[in-house]
């Protein structure tokens, strides 16, 4: 039986992920081999366990939360290139708004793949240029006057994106906004330390409220 389009995307995505994992793991191994120095095993395993306790749940949450937004190819690409919440997801949301595609359609798959691919290429090119021109760029980028701009690039990004979604769905915002204001005021350190959990909780509150409005035919 001929594999479906989605099956083909999964096959290609998995090949890309496996190659990516091999390259990523190959780097510390190569550093160790070339320098002739092994890692300090006890410190390494201890640190990996500690960090994995912190980041393993995040891996599950990110996959379950972001993959519906990203679509098939873009999920594989984004989970190797990283910067999901602060770059790839907003980039896809923006592209989807402009192209007016519906999630779950093949057109949306095309748009989200192009968005994540070109976003990844842009990041890689800027990073490479930055490394190449470091001496010239460092004084500008670390200038104390400009620093706040890059300290707060994420709120700027979500403010700009938020308008497009808020304006079209004013009724859906009310309850999740009140919830977010309360939890952020009462538990600021939890919010800042557990953003991936907050995203899930906020999304659940928002979807539940939207469902209620829809059931009551208010949206």
């Amino acid at each position: 039986m001929k594999p479906s389009y989605q099956d083909l995307l999964h096959r290609n995505g998995r090949i890309f992920t496996i190659i990516g994992l091999v390259i990523l793991l190959g780097i510390p191994i190569m550093i160790s081999i070339i320098s002739g120095v092994p890692p300090q095993y006890s410190a390494m395993f201890g640190a990996i366990i500690t960090l994995s306790i912190l980041y393993l749940p995040g891996g599950i949450v990110e996959l379950t939360t972001y993959s519906p937004v990203l679509g098939t190819s873009a999920t594989y690409l984004a989970f190797i290139t990283g910067n999901l919440a602060n770059l790839k997801i907003p980039c896809v949301l923006n592209a989807r708004q402009l192209a007016k595609t519906e999630i779950g359609t093949e057109e949306n798959e095309v748009v989200s793949t192009l968005a994540v691919a070109f976003s990844s290429i842009t990041t890689i090119v800027i990073m490479a240029l930055g490394v190449l021109l470091l001496a010239q760029l460092q004084p500008v980028l670390t200038n104390p006057v400009l620093r706040p701009a890059f300290d707060w690039v994420v709120p700027a990004l979500f403010g700009a994106l938020g308008y497009q979604y808020f304006i079209k769905n004013p009724k859906i915002i009310i309850v999740p906004l009140v919830f977010i204001l309360l939890i952020s005021a009462l538990m600021p350190s939890f919010v800042q330390g557990n953003l991936s959990i907050l995203i899930i909780v906020s999304a659940v509150v928002s979807v539940a409220w939207a469902k209620l409005l829809h059931t009551k035919k208010m949206i």
């Binding site: 994995s52 379950t64 057109e107 709120p155 994106l161 308008y163 859906i172």
Partner: protein
């Protein structure tokens, strides 16, 4: 002869590895682009949609990418340029990498860094963040077939589209919450030469500096987006749509700079 850590962290071969990672990401991305463009032709999608998607994605990604590159500069003091370049080009983030370095080699500073510390840090940074790609490899296909496809097509009475819009609103509000919470508390760990600064007890030195700036920046960008939207509609500036988000972000970021110049941080 064993190399010392200063030679390793700025070695030519580590730059070559960075270049290899960059080429892998670019070639992988281009492969997905070619497949997507082929599919768009099969679906008879207008070329204009493809062009707009590409232009808006590039323009949108420039500023956050510069922000990511500043992370390389922050980490370079301790680890040199190529390793942070590699790490921040793929899955990872500045706060994660700093934490990984501090846990892998406790109390490390530029003066005490050894080759073995450097190698250990490289292993820890790489391995501990791989859970996302590993889960994607193992479970994504099943999850998509059993959950996502059904949610996208199986929701009754037209709730499917509302569901995803509500989901995105939840996501955006979570980031607003992160900005809003900083009005009440904002702990910053002190970083010098790419490593956390520790107190006498070996704990990172933390400053609590509550700030209104991220909320002001959020609303400035939101308001700028509204103004651009009005301009686009009133003057039929179709081209501006591709840059609406990028320009709104620039305005939000410019407000942060002006506030900073006025002593508000």
């Amino acid at each position: 002869m064993l190399l010392n850590v200063s030679e390793i962290k700025e070695s030519w071969w580590l730059y070559v590895m960075g270049l290899g990672v960059a080429l892998f990401i670019i070639s992988g991305s281009l492969y997905f682009v070619i497949s997507a463009v082929k599919k768009s032709k099969e679906l008879h999608m207008p070329k204009e949609v493809i062009k707009r998607t590409i232009i808006s994605s590039i323009s949108f990604s420039i500023l956050p990418s510069i922000g990511i590159f500043i992370g390389v500069i922050t980490m370079a003091g301790l680890l040199g340029i190529p390793l942070p370049w590699i790490r921040l080009s793929v899955i990872g983030a500045l706060h994660y990498e700093l934490m990984a370095a501090s846990i892998a080699a406790e109390g490390i500073t530029l003066m005490t860094l050894t080759t073995q510390n450097f190698v250990t840090i490289a292993f820890v940074m790489t391995i501990s963040i791989l859970w996302g790609p590993i889960f994607t490899l193992l479970f994504f296909k099943k999850y998509q077939q059993k959950v996502i496809n059904k949610a996208a097509t199986g929701t009754s009475g037209g709730f499917g589209k509302i569901l995803f819009d509500a989901f995105f609103i939840g996501l955006i509000l979570a980031f607003f919450g992160d900005a809003f919470s900083k009005i009440f508390q904002f702990n910053i760990r002190l970083v010098v030469d790419g490593a956390y600064v520790l107190d006498e007890l070996g704990k990172p030195i933390v400053d609590n500096i509550p700030t209104f700036v991220p909320v002001i920046v959020f609303f400035s960008a939101l308001f700028a987006s509204l103004v651009f939207d009005l301009l686009i509609k009133k003057f039929q500036l179709k081209w501006l749509e591709n840059f609406q988000l990028a320009f709104s972000m620039i305005i939000g970021m410019a407000v942060a700079v002006f506030l900073g110049m006025g002593g508000i941080v």
